[in-house]
Symmetry: C2
């Protein structure tokens, strides 16, 4: 990659990073492109060298976040040093730490954008929906592995269990953000992992 391309690619990545922070904090509609450009120190007017539109920018943010977060989830859910049910707990505790450090602000970028944008942007909705489907498969594989090894309650079908797990966690994240309390997350971990999923 020559120097010019390198710079262009770096600036794009910096805009995505700053945009992720701003959108996580304010959502899509409340996020101003100008604020993102200012954070990176990119001159006004050059945004459209990098992205076609604000919607295109949001898709790039969601894709970058998905790449980073899918790798993180995949690492937790395939960690063979732990039993599958403990891998699910690791996933929950990591998100709980995130919420705790941030004093229950912000929540989950993809959850927030799903709630805000599913009826406003078909491109974003499709992207978010396909990420949800992919993620459900990852959780279903971990749950099925635990069911085979006798570590997770085998009476519920793995894909449906994964869907319930993710619905419950998304809802708990939202309620944690609104009540500014970790109680919904702790309640979920206690009931879902320590009771419902136990064999």
């Amino acid at each position: 990659m020559n120097a010019k391309l390198q710079t262009r690619s770096d600036t794009r990545a910096q805009l995505i990073e700053a945009g992720t922070e701003v959108m996580l904090e304010k959502g899509y509609t409340n996020s101003g492109i100008q604020e993102v450009l200012s954070r990176v120190g990119v001159p006004k007017g050059s945004f459209y060298h990098y992205f076609e539109s604000k919607e295109d920018f949001a898709v790039a943010i969601v894709e970058a976040f998905d790449t980073y977060y899918t790798a993180k989830i995949n690492k937790a859910l395939t960690d063979e040093t732990k039993e599958p049910i403990e891998r699910l707990r690791t996933y929950c505790l990591d998100s709980r730490d995130w919420m705790s450090e941030g004093k229950c602000k912000n929540g989950c970028l993809l959850g927030n954008l799903s709630q805000e944008m599913s009826d406003q942007s078909e491109i974003l909705r499709e992207k978010l929906s396909s990420i949800m489907t992919k993620r459900r498969e990852m959780f279903a594989r971990c749950i099925a592995e635990g069911q085979s090894s006798g570590n997770i309650n085998p009476t519920w079908e793995a894909h449906k269990t994964a869907e319930l797990f993710l619905c419950g966690w998304d809802g708990a994240m939202m309620r944690s953000k609104t009540t500014k309390s970790l109680e919904p997350l702790d309640g979920f971990i206690m009931l879902m992992i320590d009771k419902a999923l136990r064999p």
Copy 2:
């Protein structure tokens, strides 16, 4: 009430009704006061005769929706012609009908505003949080009644079960909106009501 007061009160109620529709469709930030005024046929500039601010208007919308919806939920959850577990199913099926009729658009007004506004407006956050707490109590009472009568699994504490139930349902509503499918709702009903809560 004299004629002038009657008219003032009617107009306020009409603004709240139209505002509910617009905010359900577009969220808080994307909703324009002008659009609400146009729908009701109230002249531009008179909004502030009725509400101090857009935030004050949103609080009035949330309060009106809560009054209406709490009565509806209370009716479903205290219907003595049905076993408690069937009352929970009625609640879910009513929301499912709403999503089905609306082709999985809009979702839940309070869930949407919680996700969008919890970090943007402390007044709205407190209002939404207190509604969530009140609602959890209503569900916990129904669950405890089912546990006493042997109709609901008694091994999980009623308040924590109510929290898990509501987190799961909120998450399923969000995922239904994003995937434009009733599957997350059906999966929740099948696993939560027909498996997890069964004694």
